[in-house]
């Protein structure tokens, strides 16, 4: 279903542009979160930050086939960049997002230039090495990162000089939802562009891509830059809304978790990344609250079940089940 958008029949059938569907979905989910779970807005705000990380990972892993376990490093760079900018006096939240995005885009371009030089296992190892390097630097450069205590004292100004951050995280949540909606609309367009299509082609067969005249390596680096920017927005958002940046933002564990969420939801599809990020974090949140002793076991079981029964991810599995349930005339 995912690749069908290109053909005219699919365009005719799906009269709504995906950008709009994306924005509407985020708006509905955001409204539901805001009104149904007013006690949990701080958690839901953090969830959105991590969702950016998973979306950014989808760009390089899902769309380009780059194996990486170092994506959180890009997230962390954005968080530290925004945090430091804020402490230095740039307190406007939108400017801080831009700082985070720019910092991580740069980190993405640099690390991407190294990581995409390799393929397969060496690539994976390089990505881990990069993440370890960033973690070690974050730990050592305590004047910039606060070291193991974390970077604190991040007090952003009111958004657009009007909406100040409150202790119930209402402003933070609404701000995050709006930023996510805008980012998702951009990404929905981005992955459908000729550039996005070429990236999917490169993932399928990079030699073939070279043989049609495409310079594969520069394209992958550019994609890494974009992915970094998306991760950086997530990191900056988390820094702004929580006021602190800890070492866990950059760590290997967060990278691995993001990969799990992506695979769970379905790599190579923004809806999959979104589904995986939201459902995994909700599940983790609920289960760890109700059963603090065995929640990791339950999360492990969920993962195994999903990989066994929906190996291409929850989103794909659900859309197949849905199209089977629908009346025959809707099928192709």
């Amino acid at each position: 279903m995912v690749t069908m958008w290109w053909t005219e029949e699919a365009t005719a059938r799906l009269s709504l542009p995906p950008e709009l569907v994306g924005v509407a979905t985020i708006a509905v989910l955001g409204a539901a979160g805001f009104f149904l779970f007013p006690e949990d807005l701080a958690f839901l705000t953090r969830l959105i930050g991590i969702t950016f990380l998973v979306l950014s990972l989808d760009l390089v892993t899902g769309y380009c086939g780059v194996a990486t376990l170092g994506q959180a490093a890009l997230f962390g760079v954005g968080a530290y960049a925004a945090g430091n900018a804020c402490i230095a006096g740039v307190t406007d939240p939108c400017a801080l997002l831009a700082v985070g995005a720019a910092g991580s885009a740069l980190a993405g371009l640099l690390s991407g230039a190294l990581i995409t030089r390799f393929r397969g296992l060496p690539q994976l190892v390089i990505s881990i090495a990069f993440s370890q390097l960033v973690t070690a630097l974050s730990n050592k450069l305590s004047s910039v990162t606060g070291g193991s205590d974390g970077l604190s004292g991040i007090v952003p100004a009111p958004i657009l000089r009007t909406f100040s951050f409150d202790m119930y995280s209402r402003t933070a949540f609404v701000f995050s939802v709006v930023v996510l909606a805008i980012a998702l609309a951009f990404l929905m367009r981005f992955v459908r562009s000729p550039f996005g299509l070429l990236c999917r082609g490169i993932k399928d067969d990079d030699l073939r891509a070279q043989m049609i005249g495409a310079a594969v390596y520069p394209r992958l680096i550019v994609m890494y830059g974009v992915s970094g920017a998306v991760a950086g927005v997530g990191g900056a958002l988390t820094a702004i809304t929580t006021g602190v940046v800890g070492l866990d933002s950059v760590g290997f564990e967060r990278s691995a978790e993001a990969l799990v969420m992506l695979v769970l939801g379905g790599a190579g599809n923004l809806w999959g990344a979104l589904t995986g990020a939201i459902i995994f974090q909700l599940f983790e949140h609920i289960v760890s609250a109700t059963n603090p002793f065995h929640w990791m076991t339950l999360v492990g079981l969920l993962l195994i079940l999903i990989v066994v029964f929906a190996p291409r991810g929850m989103f794909y599995g659900a859309s197949v089940a849905w199209s089977k349930m629908r009346p025959q005339r809707w099928l192709r």
Binding site: T7, E8, R189, S193, P194, G196, R200, D205, R219
Partner: protein
């Protein structure tokens, strides 16, 4: 008759194994050349060297008078040196149209665009449709490569090659795996190519070779042992010994 592609003493060895030895030939505009030879003669290696997938151990390759020996695959393709693969290589999760569209958009320099929708250009769409129809797979446009039969994939591979508007087209056994009733479509597509481009085809099907080629190159043990017209090739003793065997006898005028 402009000189398009030139090979000068191209040699390739893997360790002690000499796959190609001092191969030299030219392709001029309008050439229709068949490259034949027994299995293991080094035909595909030669195409890999020309397309840039392998670097020759020795020798030079020129394209439109310029040395391209050190040029990357992508640059060669961009200049109009295009190949197809013996074993189909396609973008397997994309649809047939998307496969061709990528080639068309790459040729037009459109793949840097990141805010327009890939299918929105009607020029690209109609060109894709035309190419797919030329090869008789227009009705499969919306199917993914993984849903196509192998023969149809071969035709799609050909469509991608044509979409790049090559100046020199290297076809590595384009008809291998194509069902017999569809094979003529490949030849038709080649016959409809602009007359000034050069085509080099590796092929085992001698009927196809005789229909297509104006000139035949024979490679045996990595060496070029014959260059001449299709009718002369059957008469050549060395070629017959190396390759043609009984087929040549069957073709021999009585």
């Amino acid at each position: 008759m402009t000189l398009l592609l030139g090979l000068h003493d191209v040699s390739k060895s893997f360790g002690g194994l000499h796959v190609n030895r001092d191969v030299s030939f030219d392709l001029v505009s309008g050439d229709r050349v068949a490259l034949i030879g027994p299995n293991g003669a080094g035909k595909t290696t030669l195409v890999n060297i020309i397309s840039g997938d392998l670097t020759p151990s020795y020798g030079r390759i020129t394209f439109e008078g310029e040395d391209i020996t050190g040029l990357s695959i992508a640059h060669r393709a961009h200049r109009g040196l295009v190949r197809t693969f013996q074993i189909t290589r396609l973008f397997s999760t994309l649809t047939a149209t998307e496969n061709v569209a990528l080639a068309v958009m790459q040729r037009k320099g459109m793949t840097r665009r990141f805010l327009s929708v890939a299918g929105s250009s009607s020029d690209v769409r109609s060109e894709c449709q035309e190419l797919l129809q030329t090869l008789g797979i227009g009705h499969l446009a919306g199917l993914r490569v993984s849903e196509l039969a192998y023969g149809q994939q071969r035709l799609l591979e050909m469509a991608i090659g044509l979409a790049l508007r090559p100046k020199v087209l290297l076809l590595d056994e384009p008809a291998a795996g194509v069902p017999h009733d569809e094979a003529p479509k490949i030849l038709e597509a080649i016959e409809r190519l602009p007359p000034d481009i050069a085509v080099l085809m590796i092929e085992h099907d001698m009927d196809l070779v005789f229909r297509f080629a104006k000139r035949v190159l024979v490679l045996a043990n990595g060496k070029l042992i014959f260059e001449g017209t299709p009718s002369a090739v059957t008469a050549d003793e060395e070629v017959r010994r190396a390759y043609l065997g009984s087929y040549a006898d069957a073709r021999r005028p009585t």
